[in-house]
């Protein structure tokens, strides 16, 4: 124990949750190495760390999805060994995972109570069930129609429903795995409101997140993990942002500017470059319920970052640029020539490429080989009747496996068997093979390990240097800062501003992202969505 920890440990009562020396071994990997962690009653405890730090593993162990190789978990002083989600819930530990586990076709009330419906003589007592669901929602301070099916609700509300479900089973401990990743600022506000309320009710909350500012907004204490080991535990007040970031990254950061982020340089976004037409330009590109009209341009050899929280409209904007969705307003030009609206094929033909955010569900064909995944886009552009000769396919596959250092047993290995980082590289290779003018990358480094991430970042820099126009979407602000020449910051589905050159740093982006607190309540939002 570090002195800081000892100092900050609330000694008055035994901790609500006390995790001691937990080890988790996967074949060949030690995901957690003697990690300890404690949670007090009425506390919000942030669990932080970069990808691969072991946060998810720890969450899974708490949730009962996995049993640790070694170590103990005590709940209120007695040891528990949760063997399943239900088992953990029976102990009062409820977990809400990032991928929201709700049944889309069932109503809100049914989802909240699924599997533990109040019954009498075997029959579900509907009034009782609805009352319980309403009560669970009330604890979060939200009001939604209990009879709506979940698939009709926006993701943020689904998230809250999932939390309500977790609360419904007399939870004493609530574990939230990146609950805000798909929420916008106002929704995050509502969630925090709800979490504070729960904290007052004496719940212990484990809050896993990437968002530093959110941690400072709500957490009482912070535990940082790195590479499967615990770095330390601090009270929020006692830990500066710089210290937190260096704890997470293991590097000393000299330049996390904390200066006044006011008056970022406002570059005219829509203005075309002086000489040649930009590689990609969009004017007033917008789509109802998706993103307000935005203008932007990227030139060859330039990287434009689209910064903003998840749900800020960055993915939606990327899809509009790529023609995956049709805009209601505006148009897209590639090298000065306008693209037909809403046609992926036209965009590809003009030299636009996009790696989607969710590479498993939208990008890769998991049961297909590395080679097939790599040639797919090129083949699609050539049309089905002009197949790439097998030798050419092999050459391409071999080339990119080597060039991108894809760690695969061979070009015929199914992509599903590769690690996340290598899958991402395959996806990149697919688009590099078509030699695009513009490459749109939506979260290219999400969920991949540090090493692969560094490689992909190097690759992006390299592509930029070789004259490709790059549009980069990333939740990692440092990535935007490091890789991009300019950044367009999105907030609440609107362009909040742009940053370039010296002005582009993390704090400036953050300031812009967090600039205007939204006031509309979520209940109102729902109604708005409905009317739209």
């Amino acid at each position: 124990m570090t002195p800081a920890e000892r100092l900050n440990h609330p000694a008055a009562s035994p901790p609500l949750v006390d995790v001691r020396g937990v080890v988790m071994d996967y074949p060949g990997v030690r995901a957690l190495d003697r990690v300890s962690f404690d949670l007090a009653r009425g506390e919000i405890h942030a669990l932080m760390g970069e990808n691969g730090a072991g946060k998810s593993t720890l969450v899974k162990i708490l949730a009962g999805r996995q049993r640790p190789t070694a170590g103990t978990i005590r709940l209120g002083g007695t040891e528990i060994r949760p063997a399943s989600t239900r088992h953990a819930e029976a102990h009062g530990v409820s977990t809400v995972f990032q991928e929201i586990d709700l049944v889309p076709t069932l109503s809100v009330a049914d989802n909240i109570c699924l599997g533990r419906e109040p019954t009498r003589l075997g029959l579900v007592r509907r009034p009782r069930l609805r009352a319980r669901a309403a009560a669970a929602l009330r604890r979060l301070g939200i009001a939604i129609d209990l009879d709506r099916t979940v698939e009709e609700l926006p993701t943020a509300i689904q998230q809250l429903v999932a939390i309500s479900r977790a609360l419904d089973c007399d939870a004493r401990v609530l574990v939230l795995d990146e609950p805000t990743s798909s929420l916008d600022a106002s929704e995050t506000g509502t969630l925090f409101e709800a979490l504070r309320r729960l904290r007052e009710q004496g719940l212990g909350i484990v809050f896993v997140t990437h968002f530093i500012e959110q941690v400072y907004a709500i957490a009482d204490r912070i535990t940082v993990l790195r590479n499967g080991a615990r770095v330390g535990c601090w009270t929020t007040a006692a830990l500066s942002r710089e210290a937190l970031v260096s704890a997470m990254t293991g590097r000393r950061l000299e330049a996390v500017h904390r200066g006044p982020a006011a008056a970022p340089e406002r570059e005219p976004i829509g203005a075309p470059a002086a000489h040649a037409p930009p590689a990609l330009a969009a004017r007033d590109l917008g789509r109802r319920r998706s993103i307000h009209p935005v203008s932007l341009h990227v030139s060859c050899g330039e990287a434009l970052g689209l910064a903003g929280l998840l749900g800020s409209g960055r993915t939606e904007l990327a899809r509009l640029l790529f023609g995956a969705d049709a805009p209601d307003t505006g148009r897209v030009e590639v090298e000065g020539r306008p693209l037909p609206v809403g046609s992926v094929r036209a965009a590809i033909a003009a030299g636009v490429a996009m790696t989607p955010e969710d590479r498993k569900s939208q990008g890769l064909l998991l049961d297909f080989s590395v080679r097939e995944n790599i040639v797919l886009a090129l083949q699609s552009r050539r049309g089905p009747l002009h197949p790439l000769p097998r030798a050419e396919q092999d050459r391409l596959a071999a080339h990119y496996i080597e060039a991108l250092a894809i760690a695969a047993p061979g070009p015929d290995t199914p992509v599903g068997q590769l690690s996340g980082g290598n899958q991402q590289k395959v996806l990149l290779a697919r688009w590099l093979a078509v030699q695009p003018v513009v490459l749109i990358l939506d979260e290219p480094t999400r969920g991949i390990d540090v090493g692969a991430r560094a490689e992909i970042e190097r690759l992006i820099l390299d592509l930029r240097a070789r004259g490709m126009a790059i549009v980069l979407i990333s939740s990692e602000l440092d990535e935007i800062v490091r890789l991009c020449d300019r950044a367009l910051v999105l907030r609440d589905r609107t362009a909040a501003g742009a940053l370039a050159g010296e002005a582009l740093d993390e704090s400036a982006v953050l300031a812009m992202v967090a600039a205007a607190p939204a006031s509309a309540s979520i209940a109102n939002r729902t109604v708005d969505e409905d009317a739209g």
Binding site: T105, L106, V124, S343
Partner: protein
């Protein structure tokens, strides 16, 4: 009221409306169409179909499909007839048939879950195997004579405004009501909906996928077995050639009743509507009295198509607008496994 009008109920509401239109049109068009006698005939004649369809509804709600229904009904009907022929009391055959039907259903559900096989294939195999088993039991129609059965058909009927509602119709209504309660008001029912809505989420939310799958197919087997007993008692015979293709009728009834083949959405009550719609269409064809077989097939097909189109339009014309402009083609949900 709002809940009733929710979009997921629309197909069932459309089914109810179409049933009403068919009945009204038939009454206007044909003498003697709107009669209590026709109603009780309809309920009686389709009793076994509806009972089997209740089971099939659960399977489809859970995202599966059961092609073995026709063979299962024929098999259990033959089993009941065979037992009665050997001196059993007809009522005594009921538990035996139900148990065997449930066990066979559970076996299919078990195979589907344990080996991650497509339900289509497993129940197709069940369809073949049970048909053969029926022939092995008795290779030609087997008539049965039992005073109880005579009593059932002559006297065990509920008077209903000048006509008599046969006992099997009452049984069918009871099974539908029970099915509706199980689907809507029990934990098991909620699990079935959850499984069909999203197997992954359901599992994550603590629904035991294996147990539920097995239970659903067992329930379908039991329903088909009950339908078989009802069939045997109404016909006073078992017939190894009977009911080939019943599975398609049953699936059509379930779908017309508003249950989505992709699972998770629908209702048992809707299924009864679906059965009645098929019955009324048949009745209209009989009253019309001049369609030959070829035109009957064509007419049935066209009506099915109209129905599917209507439901599709109701379920997502808004979606169509999106699809029209959106580049990302959305392929229909996969065939239920």
């Amino acid at each position: 009221m709002r809940a009733l009008l929710a979009s997921r109920n629309l197909p069932s509401l459309a089914a109810a409306a179409i049933l009403a239109v068919l009945v009204v049109a038939g009454s206007v068009r044909f003498e003697h169409f709107a009669s209590v006698g026709n109603l009780s005939n309809l309920l009686g004649d389709y009793a076994f179909v509806a009972i089997a369809a209740v089971g099939a509804t659960f399977v489809i709600l859970a995202g599966g499909i059961d092609l073995s229904v026709g063979s299962m009904v024929a098999f259990t009907a033959m089993l009941a007839a065979w037992l009665v022929d050997r001196g059993w009391h007809p009522l005594a055959t009921v538990p035996v048939c139900l148990a065997i039907g449930a066990a066979l259903g559970a076996a299919m559900g078990g195979l589907i879950h344990a080996f991650a096989l497509p339900a289509f294939i497993v129940t197709l195999a069940g369809m073949f195997a049970l048909r053969a088993a029926t022939f092995l039991l008795h290779d030609q129609p087997l008539g049965i004579v039992h005073p109880f059965l005579s009593w059932m058909s002559r006297d065990a009927a509920v008077p209903l405004g000048g006509a008599a509602l046969p006992a099997r119709a009452v049984l069918m209504l009871a099974v539908v009501a029970l099915g509706a309660i199980v689907a809507g008001r029990t934990r098991f029912g909620r699990r079935v909906y959850a499984l069909g809505g999203s197997p992954r989420s359901a599992e994550a939310m603590g629904v035991s996928v294996g147990t539920t799958t097995v239970a659903v197919y067992a329930l379908a087997g039991a329903c088909a077995a009950l339908a078989g007993v009802v069939f045997a008692s109404a016909k006073r015979a078992g017939d190894p050639t009977a009911l080939v293709g019943l599975e398609l009728t049953v699936i059509a009834a379930v779908v017309i009743g508003g249950t989505l083949l992709s699972g998770g959405v629908g209702s048992v009550g809707g299924t009864l509507l679906g059965v009645l719609i098929l019955g009324v269409i048949r009745l209209l064809i009989d009253f019309q009295g001049n369609l030959n077989a070829a035109w009957t097939s064509v007419a049935t097909g066209v009506l099915l198509l109209a129905f599917a189109g209507l439901q599709r339009a109701l379920a997502g014309l808004g979606g169509w607008a999106d699809r029209g402009t959106g580049g990302a083609a959305r392929i229909e949900p996969r065939l239920p496994r």
